[in-house]
Structure formats: structure tokens, C-alpha cells
Symmetry: C2
């Protein structure tokens, strides 16, 4: 047992290490840290550092992190079944979410939070197991009292003084202290490079066309959208665009896309971006096959060889080819599929790689390194990209990629949205199909307040107007998303600068939205009387001030918990309450939305910036830039500060450009309502 | 890459090793091998030994076992969701079955079968991962053809030339060859000590009473059974019999059982056996606490210390206490709970133990070593025991313990029954409750042809006569089980001598009951077009000749597949078919049963051995002994051979004692029908 000491590297950010660590995810990814974005001087540490110790057990390093028995934890890793993680055992490994939150996750970031106001990040690329405060040491100083199940009350949980984690090799350990969990998350995201800078077009409407579409099919699809008067910003091409997919060539199918340059130019003229699906397993028909083969692992996936993405050489070969064949002719980004595994569709844990790294380390970093590789190409071209990826890791907060998977459960989509805010990633639900017109609407609505609004028709070729009876509602739902651009863009600006996630679990913004109770004995299904931890997951925060309460398919009314501050109805501006629990009626064409008192919500439609004001007085801001490049770093942006007062039903607002002389914003006509 | 060579140790049984192995499950358990029971001289090896190779990758040993691309595999490990395992990745670890067959299983025995007619056993106590023929090496000599998902047919599966397995340390490797899988399984079971010798009373009716019953409650329960005229052979006492449980003292609660000796004597007079529930985690209130503490691990479970069962000293302390406080006064066996884990309720993977063994090795052998420890006490007393356990491993075939868990799915119970025959263990479904009278009946019926017929009322105190309208049917179902004793006892005799499991998946006895098809693309739930492997799991073989076709709750009729031989209706003796697929009507009071032509099924009721004969001529046997001791090893048994012919509706049978002069069987009056 060794105590380890921590060094302060920024206000409320501390670093230590379990030994001489040569391989960390952050160093592999190489994002620039944004710790100077930490303005808060919060330096108290609500967790006793001096109690952290490590030990070596066989080939593992064990880290024991003290906790109070009453602390509540969130993370590590993206989850879909529930938020708090107390007492659970989480064997993190990058994998497809297979129905239970056992650690197999698309985003196995070894970062967890405590509601005492801190976060812990153990930066290892290896598989790591977390014992979230339920495993008691035989020599515990403060062991829980022995209970007798034969008599009286009993609970299956045994709170421990430590969170314990074990992994091979050594690792850097970071602790982030804050006044609350949100500060700890924000500091973690800043360490990882801050939040993603996304292009404006990325916040529009995405449509992934049928996997076997050719260029004419795509052109026709776009015409249909025009005829139907549906907005369309990004078209995603699925596997069939490749000359071979599963495994991939990354080259155009010459029958379907005989002249990719011409196709991309045509798309550009229509202001439609093209996103390309790919997986990372290389076909022997690929032009890069021979060149990349020496940098590939011992096992194939879908008969394709597997580049060792930890090697710069392997990354460069792919980057060069992607730049030349796709990006230079106008491709806007990628959907990087299948890098999560599902175990069956990845290399074995005993695979070897030319870098000498373990299969675990290669697996856990495959998604993030593939993202970074793509990002770097666009970055050098001074272009923003936005895309999708099936796997990520530490460092993902700054990556303009959304995590997605094969799950299609409404509940699990909601949980994923909330949970992503603990993990430094963007999670995107998507619309694929529906059994009823009402479900169709509810699924589109859920995506309005998510990182990406996308219809994924890759397998069934479905169109947004599938259900005629709700065609108008779906069209307006997409327009609503687009009108929210200034508000959502603000949220991403805050993400980038301050590390605050754009979509957040309620418990990050408000304490008191969590609860627990001991489960009752179920004599047929579950004999353990465990502590069940509840958090609100079916309401969440989007941006600074909007609380989103999605309606589930089939739901005629729903419960809404108003945290303790003034809340207003988004649509009517009416006062809704403060701290109450409401039962609200659900209208088909509306997502129930509540806004914090004093908030100013900027929206933009038909050349008018309409600022919706809630309550009697308040402040807000609008951030703007070209939405396409990184010129904002050279001052090409505008920051407007706003305020409003309301008296006798009359709203008076002010807006003032406080920063960014060089940039001419299109926001000129402003209306306060 | 090292080739390894195999040595023949019995007909069709070969051994090798990956290196100097000091720790194997078989050596830890120490069962006597029964390889002399292998009479078949089948020596062909349907698998090319010379192709087996091993390699060391980081801290793992990798074993690659050649396979033909068309081979179908079963195992490793007990499963509940499906039988064949091709293409799956199975990370075996002893654990509660948590809803998916990913390797977390109550019986993580590293033994798998091929329908080419062989089995492979890698004898390591460590965690071991199996890649069941879907992971292709980059340097494969015979790689599958690259497919293009963008065009034409595609399947997500990539058949590999090898099954690959990886684990820490070294291990013995055994290969069992046979004319078919059943022979391979039988040889594996004989290597592990043969099949369990169970007491006759163990095949009667078991009832586990409410967890907080005292001795008077138990006496009253027995009176109720007598009044209701229900058979009762074994009473199981649940946690409340302990002075402390979760963690356990293993000592009687003096309020509930003030005089255990008197209580046990009373039970003995009524011919009722007592089975005691326990888990293995020691309370500090236990008398053995101080003595066993030095032999316990670094972490507690349910606040109890965890004995290192790989240490003889730890086992001895428990054995001594159990003998003195329970067995010597008449306890007949145990239900050893919670040794499987569920991860949350076990020590962490980085726990340390005084033997110096890994937590993995201690975990994987906890159940089997606890069984062996109990078994040894009874064995020395020349008494048979029969009980339940939540976890097992290699060596379990000879253990008179049934595996159970918290699952209550009818389908998964059926799959477990079939799957247990690949794994060398006995799986027991149990009755806990039902929503309808019909379900109640169907659940009892399913247990009739299982290793144990048990109502588990530990949590709800339910009685077999819960549903008045089916009280007679349930009573008769229990009697039916009891009347089958000679047949079931024969099946266990065959298990013990020849290693043939008493309850078997259809594919062990018959080829042609397996099928496969490529799944169709599901655009909302699963985008992979995988090969789905089907095996009959809802029919199974019990003993030599009976095919059991349980009726699911709610089912009015069901499909029955008759493998290619003559089949007869058990109840009517009518010819049912040969190779056909039938749709049969389901009667509430009958389990659909089909019997092989030529079979003789011995049953015993009211002092008469009734032998049911099927077809026009045939042979059979009856094995008998005292059912309680191991005196059969000294010749105290009887073996009867039988034959019959039937002409013009008249059945003529013969029975002759061919072995066992010393034993006087109670089977004296014999009737052939």
C-alpha cells in the first residue's frame, strides 16, 4: 500500500500518478488542454487526497479512492439503463452497449463523479475495473455493521470507504474539485481540450439515405425534399458508396458514383453536405492495402485488416487517402462505424499489434484516434467537420462527433442523453422508423434537443413524410430545431469555452433531483433487497436555460419535476412553478419545454433574431461566427450581450455587441418577446 | 507459435499441456478419474491434433485449436439463451447468469464440443476467453472470402480455421474423441470422476419452507402435507435457521431451533430429510471466525470474511464444524448459495488470498471446492448427500449437487436443462410461484424430468396446493415423479458408470436436430445479418429412452419433432411416428412424453414394479441398491436384465438378476404392460 501525492495543475485540478506511466489516452490523443479556461477559483477539495493509495496485486495496479459512505456516484462510462452507479462493478471496455450497464460501453472513459463535488479520472488506455463503493476490505477502518437477514431489516448493499479500480500498468490520476458536479465535469472536459466546435450546418437536419443509393437516387431524394418543402442540410451515404464495404476500400463505387467530384459539386450548389459512412477494417481491394498492411494487427475484422491507430504512420496513410479522395472534393465528414466491437466483431483480447500495445489499449482508443485523425485533416484545411462515431474515450469532448448505436429504445435514448453529460461526449438518438404516426412525431421531437437531428434511412429508405397525417408536424419539428440555432450555438460555444455540456442530466444543474429506496423482495425474479438509486433521466437541460421534457410514444400526460427556481412555459411564457411536481397534458405537436426565469432564448427565422424572454427581467447573450471555419480564433466572431425587463406585459430588450469588431453577424433585425 | 503434442491416456482421450502447469481445477478438486469406464475403443480423432498450437501474448497463453469451417460447437459453460456457440466470444467467469450468455455463468467449465465428434477441455482455474471460430487471423491459410455488403448477399459472420482461447498461466489440455458428441461428453465426465451417485430420497419431492420458519412451523408444515396427502421427502431450511445469515454463522438460531438434535430426530422419524441453506461468507459471530480468519481473503462479502477454499485448512475448519453441528445429528445436505457472485456480491478481481492464488482462480473454484468439501464429509460417513449449489466447475459431474439460480423464465429453464448436458452438471428448474393454475401445473411438470422436483417457498411460503382447482393434478404430478424412481435411478446409474448425462439436449442423442439460417436485416433493432443457429431445446432426452416435450404455460398445442427412429406415446403405448414433425394437443394433466421403440420403462408404485414396454420387442435393465450409502461399491447392489416381446396385443416380459447376489431388492412383484 502506497500513498500517492497530488500536484495542483489548475484551480481545483490535481494530478498524480501510480508510477512511471508511458501510455495514457490523453497523450495518445494529444488534444491541447484548455485549463486556462478555468476561471472559478474553487480550490477546496471535498475528498481527502491523503487517503488515496495504490497497491500492486499480481499484474494489476489497484487504486483506492476514499469516499464518504453517503456519497452518490455517476460514471464511469456512457450508460443507458440508469445514472447513479453506487455499489456497481464496472469492467470498462470499449464495446457495443449490449443491454446492461456492466462496463461494456461505446465510451469507456474512466472518469466518475461524486455528488460531494468532485470527479476522478484515471488515464489508462487499458481495460479498467471500477468497484463503486460496495466492496469492503477485510481490514476496513469503518466497516458497515453486520446485518442478519434472518431477522429484521436487511439490505444487500455494503457501503465501502473506497472506490477501488484496477488495471494493468500505471496511470495518471486526476482529481477535479468543484462547488458541484457540473464544475467537476467542466474541468474534466477542459483538461480533455474543451467542448467541440461544431459547424452551423451540423445543427440542421440530417438524412442518411438508403445504403445502395447511387448519385441519381441521391439527387432524386433531394428533389423530393424540395417538393415536399422539407429542410435538408446533410446527406449521409451508407456502406454502398464504397467499392467494397465490410471490409472497406474507402474508395467510391464507380458504378454508383462515376464522378464523385461532379457529385460533390452538385451537392455544394444545393448547400447540402455529404457525410460518408465507413468502418476501419481495410479490404485487400483498397488502394492503401499494401501500404497499410505492415501497420496492422494479427487478426482481421470482417475479413479486413485492422490498422494500429496508435501508430502515426497508420493514421497518416488513412488521412492522406481520405483527404485526397473525399475531403478535397468537398466531403464534410464521416460516420465511423463498428469501432466499438460487440466483441464478436473486433479482434480478440490477445491480438497483437505492431506498436506493441495491448489489444485492450488499441481497442479502447480506436474510436477516439480515428476521430482525431479525421479532425486533424479538416483542422489543417481550416474547415469544421461534424460526424458520428460508435466509440470514444477521454479526449472526446472536443471532438465534433456524436456517439450512436443500434439501440432503439426511447427510454435508453433518454438515459443516454443524460448520461453523456457525465462522460465528456455527445450522444445522439436517431429516428429510424415508427409503428405509429404519433411515435414518429415523438421520435423526431426527442432529437430536437440533442446534438444531431437525424433520420437514418440506411436500411429502409424511409422519408420524413412517412406518415401523411403528421407530415406538417414533422416538417415544423425540423424547422423548430433550425430556428433554435442561435440558442444551440450558444450552448456549444459554452461547451467549447467552459466545458459545460450542451445537454445535461438534471442532477448536474440541480441538487435534490436524486432519490433512493430499498427495493422490495421479489420472490420470483430477484431475491436481493438492494438500494435502488433514482435520478431524473426523462427531463434534461439543453443549453443554459431550457429544461426539456420529452413525451414518450403513447403518453397522454406526463410528470414534470420543477427544480427549485422559477420556471416558465416555453411557448406561452406563462409562469409554471418553482419546485412543484406537475402532471402536464401532452400535445402532439409540442415538446414540453420549461425555461428558467430571467432567461433570454435567441431564435432565428426568416432573417429575424427573435429573443424569447421569461420572467420580468434578465440577461443573455448571443455568440456568432462564420459557422464553418476556425477564423473565430483570429477574432472573426461576434458576442452580443442582451438584457430585458418586462412591465405591465410590455417587454423591453437591449442587445449590444461587446466583442468581435471584425465579424459582421447576420443577426441584424432583433425582436424581443 | 508452438505446436504441442498429445499423449493418449485412455481410448479416445488425449492430454497435452501449454507448459508447466501447477494449478488445475481437476487437481484442486482431486476427484478420482474414472477413465477405466471407457469401454468404447473409438480412437479416431476427428480433429487434427498436429494443428493445435500455443503462443504467449503479453501475460496470456493463447491456444489455437483447428476446426473445419462447417463444424458446430456447444459450450463452453452452462447457458440459458441458446445452445450452439459458433462465432460467439465467451469470456468465462464464474458469475450469476445476468440475462446474456456472454461467459458469465454459474458453471464456467472450459469444455466445448464439436459436432464433428470431439470435445476440448482446457483445465485452468483462471478466467479464460474463447473465440468460437469467428476470429480470423491476418495470416490465415484458408481465410473466408471477402464479401461486399454494398452489393448482393452478405453475412456478418467470418468462419475461422481456429477456436482460440486465452488465459493467464499454463494449462492442461484434453481432447475427447467419439463417434458423436455424446461419447465425447461421456468421456469428459469420466475424466472428471463420472456422474453423481444420488440418494433415492433425493429424487422425491423437495419443499423449501419460508426463510423465517422455526421448528414448530416446520412441524406444522409437515402436518399440512400429511393432511393434504402430498408426498414430501426433503425440507429445505432457508437463511433464518442461522443465528446470523448474510454473513453466516453456520450455527442454529437458538430461538427458532432450541434443540436441533431433537428436531432432526423428529424429522428422521417422519422419513423427512433436512437440507440447510448457507452462503460461504463468515460472520464475526460465528464460532469458527477466529480460527478461519487467517485463511480468508482481503475483501469481505456481505460483511463476512471469505475463506480461501483452495486451502485445505480453510476447508477443514468448515467441514469439522458442519459435521459436528449438522451432519452428525442428521442433516442430509446443503444448498450452497451465493458462491457465483453477480460481481457486486463477491470480492473484486484484485482481491488477494492467503494461498497466493488469483481472485479469479479462487472465484472459479469456490463452488466446486465447497461441494467437494461437503461431499467428503458425507462420503467418510458412508452416506450419500444431495443438494444445491449456485456455482460449479470442472469436476462437477460427480458432485451430487444441482445448479440453480434466480432466473424464472420457462424458456431459459428449458435451455438450461438442455445446456447442462454439455457442461457436466445438473441444472434444476424450481417452482416458486405462478400467476395462474395452469402455469402452476406446467411448472411442476417441467421439474418431473429434471434432477430435482422442488417447490421453493423460501420467500412467499407458498404450498403445492396453492391453486385448489389443480390440487389433484399437482399431487399426481409429484406421485408420477416418485413412480418413475427406477427409471430415473437407472439414468443416474448410467451417468455414474458411463458419464452419460441423465437429461440431455436432443443433439447429443440425435444428429439432424440442428439447423441454421441467416437472419434478416432488422432496420430498427439489429443491423447485422448473422447466422442464427437453431437447436431443439424445448424437447430433451431423460434417461435412455424418454423424450420429454414440456408444455409452456398458455400453450394449447405444441410442435414435437420426432428424430429418426420409432417413437411411441408414453401413456397409451400407441405408435407416434418416425422422423415426423407433429402438432400435438396439450392436456393439462399430462407432460407430452415419447418413448423409443424397444424401450422398457420401469416404474414403481404400491409395491409393484411396472415395466412399460414400447413396440414389439426390446430390452432393458433395472439397477437397484440401498439408495443411501456407498455399499454398492462392496457389491451391495442388484442389476436386473429385462426383455419383452409383444404379439397380438399380448406382452410377455422376462426379468433376471444378472449381478448382485448380496443385495435384496424390494422389486419383487413385476408387471409388464
Amino acid at each position: 500500500m502506497n500513498s500517492i501525492s497530488f500536484t495542483k495543475i489548475a484551480p481545483g485540478v490535481y494530478r498524480s500518478s501510480t508510477g512511471k506511466n508511458t501510455d495514457s489516452v490523453l497523450s495518445l490523443v494529444g488534444n491541447e488542454k484548455k485549463l486556462d479556461g478555468i476561471s472559478a477559483a474553487f480550490d477546496d477539495m471535498p475528498m481527502p487526497f491523503e487517503g488515496v493509495f495504490t497497491e500492486k496485486v499480481r499484474n494489476k495496479t489497484v487504486v483506492c479512492i476514499p469516499r464518504k459512505l453517503s456519497e452518490r456516484h455517476y460514471g464511469p462510462g456512457l450508460r443507458f439503463r440508469g445514472l447513479a452507479t453506487n455499489y456497481s462493478v464496472i469492467h470498462l471496455r470499449c464495446d457495443h452497449y449490449g443491454g446492461s450497464d456492466n462496463g461494456r460501453t461505446h465510451v469507456p472513459t474512466p472518469f466518475y463523479l461524486s455528488d460531494a463535488g468532485y470527479g476522478v479520472f484515471i488515464d489508462t488506455p487499458e481495460f479498467i475495473s471500477f468497484y463503486m463503493g460496495g466492496s469492503v476490505r477485510a481490514d476496513a477502518k469503518n466497516p458497515p455493521k453486520e446485518q442478519n437477514r434472518g431477522r429484521g431489516d436487511w439490505s444487500a448493499d455494503t457501503p465501502s470507504e473506497f472506490v477501488e479500480a484496477s488495471f494493468e500498468g500505471d496511470a495518471d490520476i486526476y482529481v477535479f474539485a468543484g462547488k458541484n458536479m457540473l464544475e467537476a465535469v467542466a474541468k474534466f472536459n477542459l483538461l480533455c481540450g474543451g467542448g467541440a466546435v461544431v459547424p452551423k450546418w451540423g445543427l440542421g437536419f440530417w438524412h442518411r439515405t438508403h445504403t445502395r443509393f447511387d448519385e441519381n437516387d441521391v439527387e432524386n431524394e433531394i428533389k423530393l425534399f424540395e417538393e415536399k418543402n422539407f429542410d435538408l442540410d446533410v446527406i449521409g451515404l451508407e456502406p454502398g458508396w464504397h467499392s467494397n464495404s465490410y471490409p472497406c476500400t474507402f474508395e467510391w463505387d464507380k458504378e454508383r458514383f462515376p464522378d464523385p467530384q461532379r457529385f460533390l459539386s452538385s451537392m455544394q450548389k444545393k448547400n447540402i453536405r455529404i457525410n460518408l459512412w465507413e468502418n476501419l477494417f481495410v479490404s485487400k481491394k483498397a488502394g492503401i492495402f499494401a501500404e497499410i498492411k505492415p501497420y496492422c494487427g494479427s487478426h482481421k475484422v470482417w475479413n479486413g485488416i485492422v490498422p494500429d491507430f496508435t501508430l502515426e504512420k497508420a493514421r497518416d496513410i488513412i488521412a492522406k487517402q481520405h483527404k485526397k479522395d473525399h475531403i478535397d472534393i468537398g466531403v464534410s465528414g464521416y460516420k465511423i462505424d463498428e469501432c466499438d466491437g460487440y466483441d464478436e466483431w473486433l479482434f480478440p483480447d490477445h491480438a497483437s499489434f505492431p506498436s506493441g500495445r495491448s489489444a485492450a489499449a488499441v481497442r479502447n482508443t480506436l474510436g477516439i484516434l480515428a476521430q482525431k485523425n479525421i479532425y486533424n485533416v479538416f483542422r489543417k484545411e481550416n474547415k469544421r467537420t461534424y460526424g458520428l462515431v460508435r466509440a470514444s474515450a477521454a479526449g472526446s469532448s472536443m471532438m465534433p462527433f456524436c456517439i450512436y448505436n443500434d439501440c432503439y429504445s426511447f427510454e435508453q435514448y433518454l438515459t443516454g442523453l443524460a448520461s453523456s453529460s457525465f462522460t465528456g461526449c455527445l450522444w445522439v438518438p436517431e429516428v429510424r422508423d415508427a409503428n405509429t404516426a404519433e411515435e414518429w412525431v415523438r421520435r423526431f421531437q426527442m432529437c430536437v434537443f440533442s446534438p444531431m437531428l437525424m433520420l437514418n434511412a440506411w436500411a429502409n429508405g424511409v422519408k420524413p413524410w412517412k406518415f401523411e397525417e403528421v407530415e406538417d408536424i414533422v416538417r415544423n419539428t425540423i424547422r423548430f430545431r433550425k430556428s433554435l440555432l442561435p440558442y444551440l450555438y450558444n450552448a456549444f460555444y459554452t461547451y467549447s469555452k467552459k466545458g459545460i455540456p450542451p445537454f445535461r442530466a438534471m442532477c448536474l444543474d440541480f441538487s435534490g433531483t436524486s432519490s433512493q429506496k430499498t427495493s422490495e423482495l421479489d420472490h420470483t425474479e430477484s431475491p436481493y433487497e438492494t438500494l435502488r438509486l433514482f435520478d431524473i433521466y426523462d427531463q434534461y437541460m439543453a443549453g443554459d436555460s431550457i429544461m426539456v421534457c420529452p413525451v414518450r410514444p403513447g403518453e397522454k400526460s406526463r410528470k414534470v419535476t420543477l427544480p427549485p427556481c422559477d420556471w416558465y412555459n416555453y411557448y406561452t411564457g406563462e409562469y409554471a412553478g418553482n419546485g412543484e411536481t406537475l402532471e402536464i397534458e401532452c400535445e402532439l405537436d409540442k415538446i414540453p419545454l420549461f425555461v428558467k426565469g430571467g432567461a433570454m432564448i435567441p431564435t432565428y427565422e426568416n432573417g429575424v433574431l427573435t429573443v424569447r424572454c421569461y420572467g420580468n427581467e434578465g440577461k443573455g447573450f448571443v455568440y456568432d461566427d462564420d459557422g464553418e471555419t476556425f477564423d473565430f480564433e483570429k477574432g472573426e466572431y461576434a458576442l452580443f450581450e442582451m438584457s430585458f425587463t418586462r412591465k405591465n406585459g410590455k417587454t423591453e430588450g437591449t442587445i449590444e455587441k461587446t466583442d468581435g469588431e471584425k465579424f459582421e453577424s447576420e443577426y441584424k433585425t432583433v425582436k424581443f418577446i
